[in-house]
């Protein structure tokens, strides 16, 4: 759908009526005295694949955790599909969002975690089925069909009745992706999904992400340390440093031809 989006093309798209699915407006986040994010402005277009890179502690993960409502911004706005995520209107005034409002808005978002966070008391199939049946009120039959379809897509169609602790790390992460995909989010967040894996298992997980990316319709935000993979999959790369987006653009520019000095040092460590 959208292959490479330069900043000019982006503006063009918006003008054409393609509104961003997610919009960060001057978002700040501090933990106690530590300012982790110092003013993030970011538009993510429908179907766009965005890779977020940067040194540890730069706030990469915090950006997507705020979008998943796991962390509340200290100030600023996050708009999802035209709706304000963390605030709602009440009697004509903007007030902090309640759980009901959060649930309404975050229905468009899905997330895959670094440590998988599969439900250990459920089989693989139940892990995938539980949210569609209880959250989306899908019929059991339909939820089961779709779950099986997704699990087959990630190559685990033969593990339906296994429990998470019977799987390898790579398999667990593929289940986690199937579980998130069944909910058909418009935006999918990937939080360093390969960093908890043994090196030989990273490939199979990246392969699945690549397949999902190629299907195109879902926007994806990938927080990652896999530079080559980012070059391959992302339309746009953000380099986050000291709480701000220090450089952004297509991978060909940001990763292969970096201007920012700290980005050069950072990349040097990864690409050698």
């Amino acid at each position: 759908m959208v292959d490479t989006v330069t900043s000019e093309e982006q503006t063009a798209n918006v003008n054409k009526g393609l509104d961003p699915i997610v919009k960060y407006e001057n978002v700040h986040k501090s933990f106690g005295d530590v300012d982790v994010l110092k003013g993030i402005n970011l538009d993510i277009l429908p179907g766009e694949k965005v890779a977020v890179i940067g040194p540890s502690g730069s706030g990469k993960t915090t950006i997507i955790r705020m979008l998943m409502t796991l962390e509340e911004p200290t100030s600023g706005h996050i708009i999802v599909d035209g709706k304000n995520l963390w605030e709602m209107e009440k009697n004509g005034e903007l007030v902090p969002a309640n759980e009901k409002h959060l649930r309404q808005v975050r229905g468009d978002i899905g997330m895959v975690f670094q440590h998988f966070n599969l439900f250990p008391h459920m089989t693989i199939l139940e892990n995938c089925m539980t949210a569609p049946t209880h959250v989306k009120k899908m019929s059991k039959k339909e939820a089961k069909e779709q779950s099986i379809q997704m699990l087959e897509k990630v190559g685990l169609g033969d593990k339906l009745d296994n429990y998470p602790n019977q799987l390898s790390g790579g398999q667990k992460q593929r289940v986690a992706m199937a579980r998130a995909l069944v909910m058909r989010p418009k935006v999918m967040l990937f939080d360093e999904v390969t960093s908890a894996l043994d090196p030989e298992l990273v490939g199979e997980v990246l392969e699945v992400i690549r397949d999902i990316a190629n299907e195109g319709e879902m926007a994806m935000v990938l927080v990652t340390h896999e530079m080559e993979f980012a070059i391959d999959v992302a339309d746009r790369v953000l380099f986050l440093d000291e709480g701000v987006i220090a450089e952004e653009g297509p991978p060909s520019e940001v990763i292969q031809n970096p201007k920012n000095e700290r980005l050069q040092t950072f990349l040097h460590r990864f690409l050698g």
Binding site: L70, E99, H115, F119, A131, H134
Partner: protein
């Protein structure tokens, strides 16, 4: 040695009649404590500092004062309390007294169970957009309950050993009957030995069972220990 075999075998059936009362008091107290423990756990999760402080110290007060005095309070003093007081039977008093005392421990078990569930489970269920109620019923509680089962088993055994305290307010369980038998025959050796044996016979096998259960659970969940500071999870510690 001043021991009378005949008297021992006379005491055995006489005192054994009390087993039924002792056991049923144990079970009723336990159920009461399990339910009331939920109430404490719920109250403690209210995000209000003042309420939290009051609940925490109320629990601390109940937990660190003697259950025997609490029993006396409920049985002897409660009827004298103006306006709300009422006379309660010994059995009911024991259920309320021991039940509330143990519920403060049970509540700690619940807390440790809930805390043993990984933070990522909450996050994943938020990411899948579950409602708060669904998070609890489908994801958190099913995982939180299992590791608490051995600890809850331990508390059942501890409670069983505390139940004879109820004899002091007139619940006619085995200890009370032993007292009766002793005063009828003007000697206590055989009667109290019977009581000790009955307790040993019932609680030792149960302790072995709980140990076995614990090992089985540990194999299933090799997770971080749910070692709460205020729980007596290692070996069944007495509470009297």
């Amino acid at each position: 040695m001043n021991w009378n075999n005949d008297l021992f075998f006379q005491a055995l059936p006489f005192i054994s009649k009390g087993i039924w009362i002792t056991l049923s008091l144990t079970i009723v107290c336990y159920v009461f404590a399990l339910i009331f423990g939920f109430v404490w756990t719920f109250l403690k999760r209210i995000p209000n500092k003042a309420i939290n402080w009051v609940v925490t110290w109320t629990m601390e007060f109940i937990r660190s004062t003697p259950p025997l005095v609490q029993l006396y309070f409920i049985f002897y003093a409660w009827p004298e309390v103006p306006y709300v007081g009422m006379t309660l039977s010994p059995f009911t008093s024991a259920v309320i007294g021991l039940g509330i005392h143990f519920s403060t421990y049970i509540s700690e078990v619940y807390r440790s169970g809930i805390e043993s569930v990984d933070k990522g489970q909450w996050e994943a269920s938020t990411a899948l957009n579950f409602t708060t109620k669904q998070k609890w019923t489908k994801i958190i509680l099913p995982q939180a309950i299992r590791p608490t089962i051995p600890m809850l088993g331990n508390y059942l055994i501890i409670l069983f050993k505390e139940v004879p305290l109820a004899a002091t307010i007139g619940v006619v369980g085995i200890l009370h009957l032993a007292g009766d038998f002793g005063s009828q025959h003007f000697r206590n050796i055989e009667a109290y030995t019977v009581v000790a044996l009955l307790f040993l016979l019932m609680s030792y096998p149960s302790a072995l069972l709980v140990n076995k259960l614990e090992k089985k659970m540990n194999m299933k969940f090799d997770k971080k220990a749910t070692n709460g500071s205020k729980t007596l999870n290692d070996s069944e510690g007495a509470v009297s």
